[in-house]
Every structure is written in structure tokens, then in C-alpha cells.
């Protein structure tokens, strides 16, 4: 891609961000969302976060799902989730999870 084309792409990506993130803020008060849809939206953030996280934890680099102990990210992710459930502290969980994952990775290399 030529330099100017990449700048067009950057502009277009910014447009997509603005449309999706700010659209409802600008026109939302003129649109009423039906009650059933509102009910559904209540569950949306958790579902969206799960949809982002799950492939990262489960899929290997080749796109195949790996559900056993050889998947270090999955193991570290589950352990970190349990840690969070017990301690309810995000920063501790991130540091613990990264340390645990790095330890697993180094052990598996040896």
C-alpha cells in the first residue's frame, strides 16, 4: 500500500471508531430501545468481553482449539480467574497471572 493509502485507512478506521462509539451518544436520546432489547443489552458487556477473551485463551497460533494442559495461556487464565475470585483485586491478579504464565512458559521450555 502507498503511504497516502495507509493514511486513508487510518482515517477510515477513526471513522469506524467514531461511528460505533459515539453514534448513540449523539442520536441515542431520539431512539427508544424496546424493553426486550434493553433486557438483552444488560448481558452484552459480559458476553462481549467473553467473546474477546475466549479465542485468545483457547486457540493456538494455527487457529486450532487446545483444551488440555499444554495450552499454557488457558491454564494461567483459569488459575488467574480463581485467584481473582478469591482476592477480588485486579492488579494483584494481573501480576500473579503474568508471573504464573511466565513460570509455566520457562518450565515448558526446559
Amino acid at each position: 500500500m502507498a503511504d497516502w493509502e495507509i493514511w486513508v485507512v487510518i482515517f477510515v478506521l477513526a471513522l469506524a471508531t467514531a461511528a460505533t462509539r459515539s453514534g448513540f451518544w449523539l442520536v441515542g436520546h431520539r431512539v427508544t430501545i424496546p424493553k426486550r432489547v434493553q433486557e438483552m443489552l444488560r448481558y452484552a458487556p459480559a458476553c462481549a468481553l467473553a467473546a474477546i477473551v475466549a479465542p485468545d485463551l483457547i486457540l493456538a497460533a494455527d487457529g486450532q482449539p487446545v483444551l488440555d494442559a499444554s495450552n499454557l495461556k488457558l491454564v494461567a487464565g483459569i488459575v488467574a480467574t480463581v485467584y481473582y475470585l478469591l482476592r477480588r483485586n485486579m492488579l494483584e491478579t494481573i501480576i500473579f497471572g503474568m508471573a504464573f504464565f511466565t513460570a509455566l512458559r520457562l518450565i515448558s521450555v526446559i
Binding site: A16, T17, R21, F24, P55, G97
Partner: protein, 248 residues
């Protein structure tokens, strides 16, 4: 002293409210580490995929959407048509439509410029944390300050991480897997939102569908997963309610 007197300052959502701003910063603080690390990874990915340093800096400052940026990089490298990149970014960002629909009613009274900016800088984690504290859109003093306390540091740590990633470029070994810190941050936000059987069911379905539909073009799997998760959560909730009214 004068500001703290309730008679002097008319209660208004838009008035700066120092304790709420600080509470927002404090609530968001633990997630900043993960956000910064995630930004770092995206910064490195941009340079490694062949963008020049000015292009990569431009992208991080203007676009501010990690997953959309990551999705666009291979398409840029493959010389995909610009409209395809646009549609991909729209779909990857669709979850923000839902987030903004949840958040917008809280601040409908603000001037449009402010709404545009606030919407533009609202990330996943900040929105989830905000809705945890303020589930109802009823106006409350300090609400806006609390949101700003979440959003602005989140934006700053993303940009600092991302710019560092662009400048460090290829120095960081990929096997460190720094993006995993971002994943861990998302898990910590997701867990409290998963209270109750319908939400848990929704999360499991969304996760499973997004893994199974991962190969779909234009990241459509993500959208399918969110829709499937929401529908199943709602069905479980409604079924439980029906059973309760039958027996109760």
C-alpha cells in the same frame, strides 16, 4: 469551602465533583497496567507489520481501538480494499455500539461536542467499571467526574503503552506474550459482571461461539458470539422467571 456547601453549588451531573473523580481514578487504576501492556503490544504489532513510525503513531493517536487496529494490520499488509478494512473495523467495534447505547442515556443532556469526545474515548473496561457503580441512568451528582476519572487515565495509559511499543519496535521478544496482561485485565472486569445464572450462561455461550466461529471472515465470529450469548442469557433469565411464577 464554598463549593462544598450544598446551598452554593446547584447539584448538576456536569459539575466537577472532586471525590467522584478520585473514586473513578482509583477504581480504574488497577486496570491501567493491563491497558498499557495491551497498548504496548499493539504498538509493537503496528511497527512489525510494516507501518512507518509516523504512520503507527498516527494510527494509535487517531484510531484508539486496539482490536480494530490489530484486525486491520494483516488486511493492510495484504493490500485489501479500503472498504473491506472499514467494514472489518465496524464489525470489530460493534460491541461499542452496545456499550454506547448503555452509557449514552446517562449523559444525554451534555453538549454534543462533549458527548462525541466521551463516546470516542470510552473503552471496554471503563464502561464495564462505570456500569458496575451506576447501573441506572438516573442523574446523580459526580457521575460525569467518575466517568472522566475512569476514561482519561485509561486513554493516557493506552497511548503511553502504545507509543512506547511503536518506539521500542522489535526489541521486545514476542515470546513474552505481553498481550496476556490485557486478557487478564478483561477477565477481572468480566467476572463481577457474570453474577447470576443467566449471565454465566451468556458468557459461556459467547466464549464458545467466538472460538468456534473464529474462522469467519471480517471477524463476524465476534458479533455472532455476542448475539448468541445475549440471547441465551435472556432465555435462561425468562425461563427461570416463568418457573418461579408457576411455583411461587
Amino acid at each position: 469551602m464554598i463549593e462544598s456547601s450544598p446551598a452554593a453549588a446547584a447539584p448538576c451531573v456536569a459539575t466537577h465533583h472532586e471525590p467522584s473523580w478520585r473514586a473513578g481514578v482509583k477504581t480504574g487504576l488497577p486496570s491501567l497496567f493491563g491497558i498499557g501492556a495491551w497498548g504496548l503490544v499493539v504498538g509493537i504489532a503496528m511497527v512489525k507489520s510494516g507501518l512507518t513510525i509516523p504512520q503507527a503513531l498516527g494510527m494509535t493517536l487517531v484510531v484508539f481501538a486496539g482490536s480494530a487496529q490489530l484486525a486491520a494490520l494483516p488486511l493492510i499488509a495484504a493490500d485489501a480494499p479500503i472498504w473491506v478494512i472499514f467494514v472489518t473495523a465496524l464489525v470489530v467495534n460493534l460491541r461499542f455500539v452496545i456499550f454506547s447505547a448503555l452509557l449514552a442515556p446517562h449523559f444525554a443532556h451534555l453538549p454534543w461536542r462533549q458527548r462525541l469526545t466521551l463516546g470516542y474515548v470510552s473503552g471496554d473496561i471503563s464502561v464495564a467499571l462505570f456500569l458496575q457503580k451506576y447501573p441506572s441512568p438516573a442523574p446523580e451528582i459526580g457521575k460525569l467526574s467518575y466517568l472522566k476519572g475512569l476514561l482519561y487515565p485509561n486513554w493516557a495509559s493506552w497511548q503511553i503503552g502504545s507509543i512506547a511499543g511503536v518506539l521500542l519496535g522489535s526489541v521486545v521478544p514476542p515470546e513474552w506474550n505481553l498481550s496476556f496482561a490485557g486478557t487478564l485485565a478483561i477477565i477481572c472486569v468480566m467476572v463481577p459482571l457474570t453474577a447470576g445464572r443467566p449471565a454465566l450462561c451468556g458468557v459461556l455461550v459467547a466464549g464458545a461461539v467466538s472460538v468456534l466461529a473464529h474462522g469467519l471472515p471480517y471477524k463476524l465470529g465476534l458479533l455472532a458470539a455476542v448475539l448468541a450469548g445475549m440471547l441465551s442469557a435472556m432465555l435462561v433469565g425468562e425461563t427461570a422467571e416463568k418457573l418461579r411464577s408457576k411455583h411461587g
